[in-house]
Symmetry: C2
Subunit: 260 residues, 2 copies
């Protein structure tokens, strides 16, 4: 089932996406409290960020080719992570599918997409084994971890490189019925495929991350874990449209504009 968070007539609703229609309702399905209302055309509502996370986790380096490529850009030796050390992103940077990624005036040429699977937590998780971890996931959505590589290498933290306003497109909705092993992530720039990879070909998978994290911290319903991106990336320039598709989930699409 596909759960979208949308705005209609000034009100925010979660709704079930059914092809070109959406069944709107009241309450939050992530915590199991939702009642159905009216069905309307999907095109008649505005998609919002599908969940506002309490904490926004990001796996960072989680695919081997990506680690190697980023080391090449930084002029350092590739350092493949040996354990799942989670990182963080900031809510201010979240935008919905369809909203514009704004390239700051002083951002450099290496302004790039990263197409990522996002796990949305559905149940409070603490001390969860790897075998039971996926039962704590409500569903999956898609993220684009927009990155300015010069800042990524020059700043002490990733605050500008990955957390500038609009740098975290997430959506279009949350899919609850997902076979992780079957997923393919495809990124397109202006309709042209720039990378395609097996989504689950991660150094550490969703279950491994949830289990490791929950040893030390409590995961709450609505928390999101961005699972990292594969390979290298091309540069985005204002005027481009970047799409991240994950088979069976949907397509996250965002135009790129210059800071006004």
């Amino acid at each position: 089932m596909k759960w979208a968070r949308v705005e209609q007539a000034g009100q925010v609703h979660f709704g079930q996406v059914r092809g070109a229609r959406i069944l709107l309702g009241d309450g939050d399905p992530i915590v199991g409290q939702w009642t159905a209302g009216v069905e309307v055309d999907l095109a008649s509502v505005k998609l919002l960020v599908p969940v506002w996370p309490r904490t926004f986790y990001a796996a960072g380096f989680n695919y081997a080719d990506h680690v190697i490529e980023q080391a090449r850009i930084a002029g350092t030796k590739p350092n493949i992570p040996e354990k799942p050390d989670i990182g963080y992103r900031a809510n201010n940077a979240l935008i919905a599918s369809g909203e514009a990624i704004v390239k700051p005036t002083d951002a450099g040429e290496l302004f790039q997409y990263e197409g990522e699977l996002v796990a949305v937590i559905g149940r409070t998780a603490r001390h969860v084994s790897e075998a039971e971890a996926l039962a704590y996931v409500f569903g999956y959505t898609i993220g684009n971890d927009v990155s300015e590589r010069t800042w990524q290498n020059s700043d002490r933290t990733l605050w500008r490189a990955k957390n500038t306003d609009t740098f975290s497109p997430m959506g279009p909705w949350i899919e609850t019925d997902v076979d992780l092993a079957a997923l393919t992530t495809t990124v397109r720039l202006n309709g042209r495929q720039v990378i395609s990879f097996k989504t689950n070909n991660m150094l550490f998978g969703v279950a491994r991350y949830i289990s490791a994290m929950s040893r030390y911290l409590t995961l709450y319903p609505g928390d999101v874990i961005w699972m990292g991106a594969e390979g290298d990336a091309e540069n985005m320039v204002p005027g481009d449209v970047c799409e991240v598709e994950i088979s069976g989930i949907g397509t996250l699409s965002n135009p790129v504009v210059a800071e006004g």
Copy 2:
């Protein structure tokens, strides 16, 4: 004025602290929507984390002596930051004054406090100059950035070292009337003073951070910025009580317990 967030009879309220009493009310004073209700004894209510941040920012290395001390522990050369690169912490780790800091069973000996000033944002801030930045602050509270130094040096991120559940005591309340230049931070372990320093003796002050951050990102009412800690620290062990006092604001006090 001191604003506390408290629980009374199962309800959450913001209230104005008046000596040993508190004037409870409804609504959120941080966004300017609060109406007064009844006054009760402060001792009759439970203090909560004074604000639940949308984004939890932390300045990390922001005092010269602390940078030098942490480099000594890590066996590296001190690297004094040359610009205010903000970092992040996670909401899961927040606890109120009076709640217990839980030391995990596998945490090492270097389990330490960091007493910090916390700025609470009161108005949406974007492209704010250093001269006008402090007008965007609602008030100030106190944080204890509990840190496991072995993890801080071994992990790729600070997720375990500084974001394990209970590692972010914050409170006891927010003080709106603060003269930054006059503040002194004092940390006590079991009543014994272990460090005392001029709070505002930072590498980059509150106004500088807000101005720099707001060039790239939007700060929202309720966001918090932890401003970093000075000097070295002693180890905490279960049974200890750690207090962080900032003159004119109050005292954040938390017992340390072993993981059960």
